[in-house]
Amino acid sequence: MVALIPVLPLLSFLIIGLNYKRINKNLTSWLACGTVFLSFVLSFMAFMQVKSSGVNIEIQLFEWIATQKFSVGFSFLIDPLSALMLLIVTGVSFLIHVYSIGYMSHDEGFNRFFSYMNLFVFSMLILVLGSNYLMMFIGWEGVGLCSYLLIGFWFKNTDYNNAAKKAFIMNRIGDLGFLLGMFLIYVTFGSLDFKTVFSLAASYPVGSTVLVSATLLLFIGAIGKSAQIPLFTWLPDAMAGPTPVSALIHAATMVTAGVYMIARSQAIYVLAPFTMNVIAIVGIVTALVAATIAIYQNDIKKVLAYSTVSQLGYMFVGLGVGAFTGAMFHLTTHAFFKALLFLAAGSVIHALGGEQDIRKMGGLRKYLPITFMVFLIATIAISGIPPFSGFFSKDEILVHAFAQNKLIWALGFFTSLLTAFYMFRLLFLTFNRTFRGTSEQQHHLHESPKVMTIPLIILAILSLIGGIIGIPEIMGGHHALQQFLNPVFNSTGETLELSHSTEWILIASTVAGAFIMIIFAWVRFYKKNIIPAPDTTPRSAIVQLFIKKWYVDEIYNVLITKPIYWLSGFFHKVLDVKIIDGMVNGFGNLAVWTGGKVRYMQTGNIGFYLSAMVLAVVAILMFMMI
């Protein structure tokens, strides 16, 4: 029955995908959303079973690769970690599917969209359910593929196609690291199965080279998939896809696959402190850089995209300092409020008929009240204001970071300030004061239909109360999530040695800082109504750096893209045309030339033939004699 969880979306994908020209839109909606809902129900049942019994569910469907030296089964594992991920994936996917029914209702590629989305859900479920690295890799690749398909959904636009290609290629670069890590793990431990690898790894000393290398390589895969520095430029460009895609793939699920993978491999990561440091550093740098870029972005979705990169950085910081539960907690809450933010942004875009520049928005509060309310809730959550969910998860990570490395904590603190600032900037500029768009858009402003707003409301409620599962002890709650995930992360690396007062001071300072930034944003954008300047105004150098996204795209262009194009051109012009074609044509020319020369033997002169015959006979005789 557990096997049904991924199979249902797969079936839906097949049915819709194979009939996408003829199938009725209603049927598609029911089929797509229904199967995901059923998967959610089954996941919930599996979750309850694991929670109550404490025993993991393991199922092997069939023996996939069965050679003597290497055998991998197609098997699923549901332990607390994957149960949590299952709930998130199926739940949020279901809500987004329902939302998409309304958002994509006017699109002619409706059926195609839902088939791709279901394929994505299937791949993500395989990734989460897999009980060995190879299964996880199947899902890993599958979600990369679906990301490509969905980003380039409106394929008639070349820019979107380029964005899809960029996403896929960067993903693949990371996948190379993942593959190498898998090879190394197999060579060292002789198996790719999680249980086997982790139990064998326990006997290795801390910091052994092979573990450090393997974990670093796996982390490279996570960098590509979860858009960390240096492979993060695909995520903002991926906003070319429809908004539900951005919500599902690039906020809640695919980009969190990297975090999940590292959390799953916790057993080998705690044995490689060097890699953990690397992860933390990469995470915090990413968070900081993305936040600085987000302050100056003027496209709703781009702001949210950089915000995603930044929050992912936070999750990796959590992993890097040993707060595995904290990272998973932040993953959960981030899924809620980031998906909500994207869907709300989609609602805004839908209402404005496609406008995405926030300088042309404003005053939408009275036209889109529900959207405004949910957006507000999500923004407060992401800024880390209690008692919203984001506060608990972000705080847990920061507290652990403080215990590990004060510098990381300081940078994380600064980044959370920036987060609060740019998110509220976005809110105020979009929804408050007066409308700055054209009057024609103003006529068309309307609240989204119920099928779009109900998922928004559900997600808002979750963003509000989702923090319950992780209330730390100092505030009186027992950290339910931590206890739930206890069997997976044998919390050896997670006990804090901070005194309670230190913790309180840290929490208070974070909240205070967030409040100050909110007030600052309010003053700047609400009271003073300062609108971001058009793109052509000259700025100071640092601001220019932020606006130009730290010139990363340009650097990549010069360092990598241009040389590769040159190399490809070289291969084409010289190797392919001249050498290979030359050889192949050369053979043909050689045959023709030889024929032209041998033709002269056909003189038609019998005497010549006879002489040749005699010489040949002589030769044979000589050959036989000697």
């Binding site: 005497g607 010549f608 002489s611 005699v614 010489l615 002589v618 005789l621 000589m622 004699m625």
Partner: protein, 173 residues
């Protein structure tokens, strides 16, 4: 007595061979076709002499009748009737002739070289064998080789019909 016969045979053999080779050479070398014809005729006669030396009586007579009597006459007829006795200046290019002679020479060397290492004392033939007598030949011919014999007659028929067909003057039909 025996010794004398041997010497006589060898003497006859060598003289006949000389004449044969000489006439063959002259046939190839001479410029006029009539001369080639006549030299070939001489060669055939010497070959008939060789057959008699081998006591292949039937063969010798048949050789003279068929070759000298029929084939050479046919050639002579063709030459005479078509007036082909021109002193041909047509000669093949020097290269071709040299290559031909070299090729032939090589072949000769090869064939004769095969004899190297063979003991020349073995292979003495007796000249008073009975195998060439007509009785014995016809015995073998009609007992073992009767089918080829019959087929040969068909072959002759074909050749005759072919020659007549080819020689027919088409314009008169």
């Amino acid at each position: 007595m025996y010794y004398k016969y041997f010497k006589m045979e060898q003497y006859i053999f060598y003289s006949l061979s000389t004449v044969a080779v000489f006439s063959a050479l002259m046939m190839v070398i001479s410029k006029k076709p009539i001369h080639s014809l006549l030299y070939l005729l001489l060669c055939f006669f010497t070959l008939a002499g060789h057959y008699i030396l081998l006591n292949a009586q039937f063969l010798a007579i048949v050789h003279i009748i068929v070759y000298a009597g029929a084939i050479m006459v046919l050639f002579l007829f063709t030459v005479m009737l078509l007036n082909l006795n021109i002193k041909g200046e047509m000669q093949k290019p020097l290269v071709a002739r040299i290559v031909a002679v070299v090729a032939g020479g090589l072949l000769l060397v090869a064939l004769v070289g095969l004899l190297k290492g063979m003991d020349s004392s073995t292979g003495i033939m007796q000249t008073d064998n009975q195998i060439g007598l007509m009785k014995n030949i016809s015995n073998t011919l009609f007992n073992e080789y009767v089918l080829p014999f019959e087929v040969a007659s068909v072959l002759f028929l074909t050749a005759m019909v072919g020659a007549v067909m080819l020689g027919k003057d088409e314009s008169k039909v």
